[in-house]
Amino acid sequence: MSRRVTAAAVEATSTEPVLEVDGLAVSFPTDDGLVEAVRGVSWSLGPGRVLGIVGESGSGKSVSANALMGLLPKNARISGQARFKGEPLLEMSDKELSALRGSRLAMIFQDPMTSLNPVYRIGWQISEAIRLHNDVTKAEARERSIELLRTVGIPNAEDRVDNYPHEFSGGMRQRVVIAIGMANDPDVIIADEPTTALDVTVQAQVLDALKAAREATQAAMILITHDLGVVAGSADDVVVMYAGTGVEIGSVDDIYYEPRHPYTLGLLGSLPRMDQGSRRLTPIKGSPPSMIGLGHKCQFAPRCPLATDICWREEPPLYPTDTEGHVSACHHWESLREVTDPSQVFTPVEIGGGAEDEVAAPPDESIRPDDDLPAREEASP
């Protein structure tokens, strides 16, 4: 039942992307207007690779993932292209998608406390995932469930398989969800903010479980998060999303050491780091825009210290930059070549007197589709 793909076989496989997204856009009609949650994002995921999608709340990262899985509410308007191993995803019927979901495409949600059905034992819930796509007996599914629990690091798996979700802690529940995701050796695992709702100490355990899942299934992974630290440790490539679209895409090294978009630079500057001695944080002033009625401009312009006239008139396309596959949606990406530290572009935080938070449009919180994400932290002192 389990596919154990050897490393050689991976190399022998063509480097055709296993998941490809081209100009994906998602919008929701609401009483206040059309919310353009995703405004055209494109990336591709190679087999066995890890793609980190990074962005603030409301950037559209969760919505785009849910769109791929067909899990958005009925009133969502989706356009663009998405291909799973060449098959068009967005045109599939619910029935066709159901065959893929859980078997070839798996998803892990953010809040482990609510992801599991409280009235069924977790063994049953894992077995359900298996038996939905495989013709096996209950006993076989149960054996496999125990095996999966061991893989994700649940101690005493033979006993705990009969427990109910409320008998598990948050971190363990998330690992159960990962076990469910990996049950049928999927080709792609989409992890939507898997560690956001958890304590930092537990995060490491969950990330380890994800790693174990990847190794066991050889699946490619999409890791959605707003935590740059999480991405740094796990991802091969990164898509930085802002205001519903990708603003910088590249390998993890490119993004972290040679960022070519001011937003990325700002994100990096907001991150306290242990390896850089004492250094003032350089937060990005303001907040992400409301996703209704966005005009045609660079959406980051209101918060960008480098913004000029053209930034206010034209939404930048993804310009190719120095390295292969590294693109940036910034008219002034070249000027970032000279920048070695975020404080060269963003103002460091003042100790004592705080710089006023120059506010761009406060977003209308009632129309936020990413409802289960935690409240947006203000990037001001």
């Binding site: 206040d32 207007g33 209704i292 005009g295 006239d309 449009a361």
Partner: protein, 334 residues
């Protein structure tokens, strides 16, 4: 039998009248604050935000006004109530008036006819409506007042008062309320006022529980602590801070009480143990109308329709109020 042993479905509305958050009213977000100059020192796009501060109260009223069914129902309900309360005195005949004719079918001057002891039936229906509405309104007022006070005290002080309250409400759940009404009505007699007291003696309890639950959850909020630190007395905290935030639940449940009370009173009167002759109630009228169904079916239908209409409009208004107070409802256009 209490609901403290079961996971409560959270229904306490968390938003408070204290919240005055700036709310966007569908505004151009592409405006840039004038102060954020770029590196070249130019200013772009003056601040065009039109941010309105709307109090919670305005939002609630606005939401209610948008609920068409509730608005129509409110209109009809107000008409019904006013009509019931004053209709009798405006009508040409008095309900107890003895007329020279007997058993007449409906006519121009007597739209519902005359009953077999010579009384104008239209006047009786109006009188019945008046009594039933009076009872319902009085019950709602009494039970809401008592329930709110007791519930607020129980929820705020907790301890013995709270336990006693919970046990009392448990107690009254043991016997079906109608049976207790029948018993008490038999003991106390059939005046409308006594009837209202009896019914209210039961109906204050669910409201007390609801207010208690709200107060329990609200008393932990920071503004309560702040008020206490400022030296506010308990009474002040309860009245000025806690109750206004529970008002949504209170109002919604008060409307439910009106509807249930009218059904309770008419049921008692139908069974003969409520408002009795010579006075009348809609319930009693239905009972009489049922007996005379072959000859005067309208006497069965009309009082019934009135009861249904009153209860229905009250229920719709209550539903509209619930929608207005509860912002968790996300109506997304299809």
């Amino acid at each position: 039998m209490t609901d403290t042993d079961r996971p409560d479905t959270p229904d306490a509305d968390d938003t408070t009248l204290e919240d005055r958050r700036p709310v966007d009213s569908g505004v151009q977000p592409s405006g840039q604050p004038a102060a954020l100059a770029d590196t070249e020192g130019e200013e772009h796009h003056d601040h065009e935000l039109a941010v309105q501060t709307r109090s919670q109260r305005q939002l609630i009223v606005r939401r209610f006004l948008q609920h068409r069914l509730a608005m129509v129902s409110l209109f009809v309900l107000v008409l019904l109530i006013i009509g019931s309360l004053v209709g009798g005195s405006l009508w040409t005949y008095d309900y107890a008036e003895q007329l020279p004719a007997f058993n007449e079918p409906p006519s121009m001057s007597h739209p519902m006819g005359i009953d077999d002891i010579g009384r104008d039936l239209m006047a009786k229906v109006l009188r019945g409506a008046q009594r039933s509405v009076q009872v319902a309104l009085l019950v709602a007022f009494l039970s809401t007042t008592v329930g709110t006070i007791v519930g607020a005290i129980a929820g705020y002080y907790r301890g013995i008062i709270d336990s006693v309250l919970m046990r009392i409400t448990d107690l009254f759940l043991v016997i079906p309320s109608l049976a207790v009404f029948l018993l008490l009505a038999r003991i106390v007699g059939g005046g409308w006022f006594q009837l209202a007291l009896i019914i209210a003696a039961f109906f204050w309890m669910p409201l007390a529980r609801i207010v208690r639950a709200e107060v329990l959850s609200l008393r932990e909020k920071e503004y309560v602590e702040a008020a206490r630190a400022l030296g506010a007395s308990d009474a002040r905290i309860i009245v000025r801070h806690l109750l206004p935030n529970a008002i949504g639940s209170i109002i919604v449940n008060a409307t439910i009480v009106v509807a249930v009370a009218i059904l309770a009173e008419t049921s008692l009167s139908y069974l003969g143990l409520g408002i009795a002759a010579p006075d009348t109630s809609l319930g009693l009228l239905v009972s009489e109308g049922q007996a005379a169904f072959k000859t005067r079916p309208h006497l069965f239908y009309w009082p019934g329709f009135l009861i249904i209409l009153i209860a229905l409009t009250v229920n719709f208004v209550g539903d509209g109020l619930r929608d207005a107070f509860d912002p968790r409802q996300k109506r997304v256009r299809q």
